[in-house]
């Protein structure tokens, strides 16, 4: 891709349409991001950035810190479980959409997109009301029905965070799956049925493999969002709960240790890229049939 762009420039073909976006991102994203991340390699005394010295001590101390690895593991497994839950909820919904008529499609699409019209923070607060103590919607309901004697602890657990993330990120899983499933060629499934393979087996052998592009897109977006989200863990995980993203926030905003925070941000960001890359590679492997040239 880079060589494509370079080729266009050398041949004198226009890249002008991309210039405004490029300048905007350079000024408002690349430069500030670079500045922040560079703090991870600078020793900053009392907020004085001008006299800062280059150092690798934050990198080495962070990587040697057991607490860092424990927090990283928490971020990772919350991200994985939230993505998995999101996928399990989204696939049937997207499938239903693909099988529906116009009215039901419109309803599903509206219900999927409309949560995006409210802030994620607001929706997370709503989960406080739903999962919260004795008077939360779930506990109150269960108590009322006599199914439980005393409230179940739901808030301030890993699962509260996972459920919250799955809900907040659901649209980003549903939309690419809808694209993949609604546009598929139904004759391929008819062919499978015609060859004596039942509906369920056809679904797993034909429908699911052919929706891999949507699955990869959804998993990538939702994992990246869940792995790096810091609001939901803070609100639904409680005081003792922490992830890498929460740590970045606390180091920079609460403890004012910018260098440590920047280093954590760098590690969070780069590891996120690695995972996104791995999902993409796995997807490419599963999709090797879509390449024109095969051996």
């Amino acid at each position: 891709m880079i060589t494509d762009i370079w080729g266009r420039i050398r041949r004198g073909q226009g890249i002008w349409p991309a210039v405004p976006a490029f300048v905007f991102l350079l000024v408002f994203f690349v430069v500030p991001m670079g500045t922040l991340l560079s703090f991870g390699f600078l020793s900053i005394e009392r907020g004085n950035v001008d006299d800062a010295q280059f150092t690798l001590s934050y990198l080495t101390s962070t990587l040697q810190d057991d607490l860092f690895w424990w927090v990283w593991w928490k971020s990772f497994y919350i991200g994985v479980l939230a993505t998995a839950l999101c996928f399990v909820l989204a696939y049937p919904l997207a499938y239903l959409y693909a099988e529906s008529g116009r009215t039901l499609r419109l309803i599903i699409l509206t219900l999927t997109i409309s949560p995006l019209l409210t802030s994620a923070i607001v929706r997370t607060y709503a989960w406080l009301v739903i999962l919260g103590g004795r008077r939360g919607v779930v506990n109150a309901g269960l108590l009322e029905l006599g199914l439980i004697d005393r409230p179940i602890r739901m808030l301030n657990t890993d699962w509260a965070v996972i459920i919250g993330m799955a809900q907040v990120h659901l649209p980003f899983m549903v939309l690419p799956l809808i694209t993949a499933l609604a546009g598929r060629d139904r004759n391929i499934e008819a062919a499978s049925l015609g060859l004596g393979v039942g509906r369920l087996a056809t679904f797993f052998k034909v429908t699911v493999p052919l929706s891999i592009p949507g699955i990869v897109a959804g998993l990538t977006i939702v994992f990246a969002l869940s792995y790096t989200n810091f609001i939901i863990p803070q609100l639904l995980g409680g005081g003792g709960f922490t992830t890498l993203a929460v740590q970045v926030y606390e180091q920079i905003v609460v403890l004012l240790d910018w260098s440590k925070g920047a280093m954590l941000a760098l590690l969070l960001l780069s590891s996120c890229f690695v995972f996104v890359l791995l999902i993409g590679l796995a997807g490419n492997r599963a999709m090797r049939w879509s390449e024109k040239e095969t051996t």
Binding site: N187, I188, A190, A191, G198, V206, L210, S290
Partner: protein
């Protein structure tokens, strides 16, 4: 082998199949021929089980399968776009149905190798469909159906995605393969040349009805309606009043409503003669060894005449000519109600 008994199909208020009756013998290749929207694909899908007729019966090999799903009918279906499994290799595509039957692996491998050899695709066994040409994909689709050894092979416009030259070659190839296997096959097409190439019998369909079900020769020589005459080959449909002008063909007309005269059965003469009917040439089109003339008869009827250049000489546009029937015996009389072409 296949009995379609009084099948009707409605899509909402649309009556797309109207009292269709058809009986296909074992080992026979039958084509459903008609323009788009005539119901031919719906009839095929009813035989396959992808659609259920609103009334009537479908009997395959003596079993009433009208309500059976496709996978319980023992039919193979080749889709218009082939519907290959893009995520499986050629060999996996072909083995797919056999695996579902829980055959043992050695037997599957043997059957796959055998059928790929039959369709000349052995070298492509490990390729994915996307890297194959249209003709190769079509043969994979055919192999995938044939390997199941179905009682009946059904094909929906299986050649329409191929370019003209390849199409002709594949039609000949298909007929050879199908006859070699000895399977009963029903194909759907809108292409009369394809129907003539691959079929033992042709069912010409129009507006949801089977108009004529007969051998290609019978359909060409003895069309039962103007529609059939016009659909297979070219035809001049002369209404009774016009046809009476031709002395030679009068006897053939008898009491019928119209006369079908093929363009090659008309002749033009420029010499002053009383034979035939007067007309003037309005258009001439070269088709290789022959020229097709469009002639306006004096009552306004337009007829087409196909003349051999060497034998019959040339006529120019605007020339006044005498049009006559070459061989009155080859004209087809149509009874009342059969003279409409739509």
């Amino acid at each position: 082998m296949i009995e379609v008994e009084n099948a009707n199909k409605y899509f909402g208020a649309n009556h797309v199949l109207q009292n269709c009756d058809m009986s296909v013998q074992t080992g026979e290749v039958v084509t459903l021929l008609g323009a788009s929207g005539c119901g031919k694909t719906t009839l095929l899908r009813c035989i396959a089980g992808f659609e259920t007729p609103s009334s009537g019966r479908i009997v395959l090999a003596g079993n009433d399968v009208t309500r059976e799903p496709p996978n319980r009918r023992d039919v193979g279906f080749v889709f218009q776009n082939y519907a290959l499994f893009p995520h499986m290799t050629v060999a996996e595509n072909v083995a797919y149905g056999l695996k579902a039957r829980r055959m043992d692996k050695a037997a599957i491998d043997r059957a796959v190798a055998e059928i790929l050899d039959l369709v000349s695709l052995t070298d492509f066994a490990n390729r994915f469909p996307k890297s194959l040409s249209g003709g190769q994909q079509q043969r994979v689709a055919l192999a995938r159906s044939l390997v199941m050894r179905p009682k009946v092979l059904l094909m929906d416009e299986a050649f329409s995605a191929l370019d003209a030259k390849l199409r002709g070659a594949m039609q000949v190839e298909l007929r050879k393969i199908v006859k070699h296997v000895g399977i009963t096959a029903v194909c759907v097409t809108h292409d009369q040349a394809e129907a003539l190439t691959i079929s033992d019998r042709i069912a010409v369909m129009n507006a949801g009805r089977i108009q004529q079900f007969a051998t290609p020769e019978q359909i060409y020589d003895m069309p039962v309606s103007a529609f059939v005459a016009d659909f297979i080959g070219a035809a001049n449909i002369l209404p009774r009043a016009t046809a009476q002008g031709f002395e030679s063909a009068k006897s053939k007309l008898n009491g019928s409503a119209a006369l079908v005269v093929r363009p090659e059965n008309l002749t033009l003469r420029s010499a002053p003669t009383d034979a035939g009917v007067e007309g003037s040439v309005v258009f001439a089109r070269l088709t290789g060894p022959c020229v097709e003339y469009e002639v306006a008869l004096k009552d306004g009827t337009l007829v087409r005449a196909l003349l051999d250049r060497d034998r019959d000489g040339a006529f120019s546009v605007g020339e006044t000519v005498r049009v006559d029937v070459r061989n009155p015996a080859a004209c087809i009389a149509l009874s009342a109600g059969m003279e409409g072409v739509a």
